[in-house]
Symmetry: C2
Subunit: 197 residues, 2 copies
DNA sequence: TCGGTTTTTGACTGATCGGTCCACAACTAA
DNA sequence: TTAGTTGTGGACCGATCAGTCAAAAACCGA
């Protein structure tokens, strides 16, 4: 950590790089199936360094999950905000569920594996989905102002519907549905849920 | 096993009951997080009996997964066939995704945890979803004949869309979305995807 | 009752688990 | 150079892992 005086030996590794490698390992095979030997292997760090820098396995995992959620939400926010018409952003949000394929969504995978037994993971998932619903609902309201969605729509409820459909796409990709079929489903869902009627 | 002669000691346990208890344990915490001690505890059987009757941990797991898939598919088929109008069966199928709540779907949970590394699980998931798509597509075709869905619809493509939405509901339930909100989303999705237009 | 067969039980094994610890390396300030 | 501090690597720990095995128990046909 940053020291105030008598600097001592500096770290040899790149923290962000290690977190990315560790996250990818958890992502690929899950939390329980990842051993500390796996983590030292993919990171190139010894156990002492890993523990000194990030704490135990669970703390390290939560760190990667938090970073992922933060980055993902920021990306979504930006993508939704940047689209000239909100309806295009919403379509992009929905279709993004078809993009991750076999890898799935790190948060979704972790939630499925752990949320029932790990309250910290459950709480992160709850916060993340609440945040996403809020962002999507904002975009829905903008689309309403822009005349692309009916005024009568309950923005928050509709945001949850879109989020559910998006997660369905993520799951079908994870489960092995071929990319072209997944893309077709995404297109179909977008047309049915987001077509200006 | 069934013996031909000199019958010997009969089994003390109920195979179906053991399989149910074991499945519930895997279902609750996942495959990797379940130890053999957990399995002996919930089943009441010793390790030898468990191995003698079902083989190792993975074989036992696959057995519970196969049974679950068989039962689930049979239930779906029956539910779809029994509905007087196919559109009602389809609605029931979609809404069933909101029924399992925190427990989720055993196959979906297992697929998320293992499909990326376990080809047997991946193959079971593929077969199951192909079968379900076929059943749902049959119901879609019936609904078309009954005038509740437009004739121009690609039944198989639309079946995949419904399945994706249903899995989205399952996931949102697993991730902790409160029951009443989940029910609302299910209702909304059903109205949007299955309303006779 | 008894021989033959299968089931049951739990002690046991080697491997691996997550986590700790410490000798040593690498650096800064003086 | 030296004292002080922190990072590194890997040996090591007790616990737990999945899986094996043999002795005892429980049943059958005869």
């Amino acid at each position: 950590m940053g020291t105030v005086e008598g600097m001592a030996r500096p770290r040899k590794f790149d923290e962000q790089g290690v977190l990315r490698d560790v996250r990818d390992q958890f992502w690929a095979v899950g939390y329980e199936a990842t051993s500390l030997d796996d983590l030292t292997r993919v990171s190139g760090l010894g156990r002492g360094s890993l523990y000194g820098a990030f704490g135990d396995k669970h703390k390290l995992f939560m760190r990667t999950l938090d970073d992922y959620v933060t980055d993902s939400c920021a990306g979504m926010r930006q993508s939704l905000d940047e689209s000239e018409r909100a309806i295009d952003g919403l379509r992009g949000f929905l279709m993004s569920g078809a993009g991750s394929l076999r890898q799935g969504c790190y948060l979704a995978n972790s939630t499925t594996e752990l949320a029932a037994t790990d309250v910290e993971v459950a709480e992160r998932a709850r916060q993340a989905y609440e945040g996403i619903v809020g962002m999507v609902a904002d975009a829905v309201k903008r689309a309403q102002r822009e005349g692309d969605l009916p005024d009568g729509l309950d923005a928050v409820a509709f945001a949850r519907t879109l989020q559910t459909a998006q997660q369905g796409l993520v799951y079908m990709g994870r489960s092995g549905l071929p990319a072209e079929r997944l893309a077709g489903v995404a297109q179909d869902l977008a047309d049915r849920l987001l077509s200006a009627r």
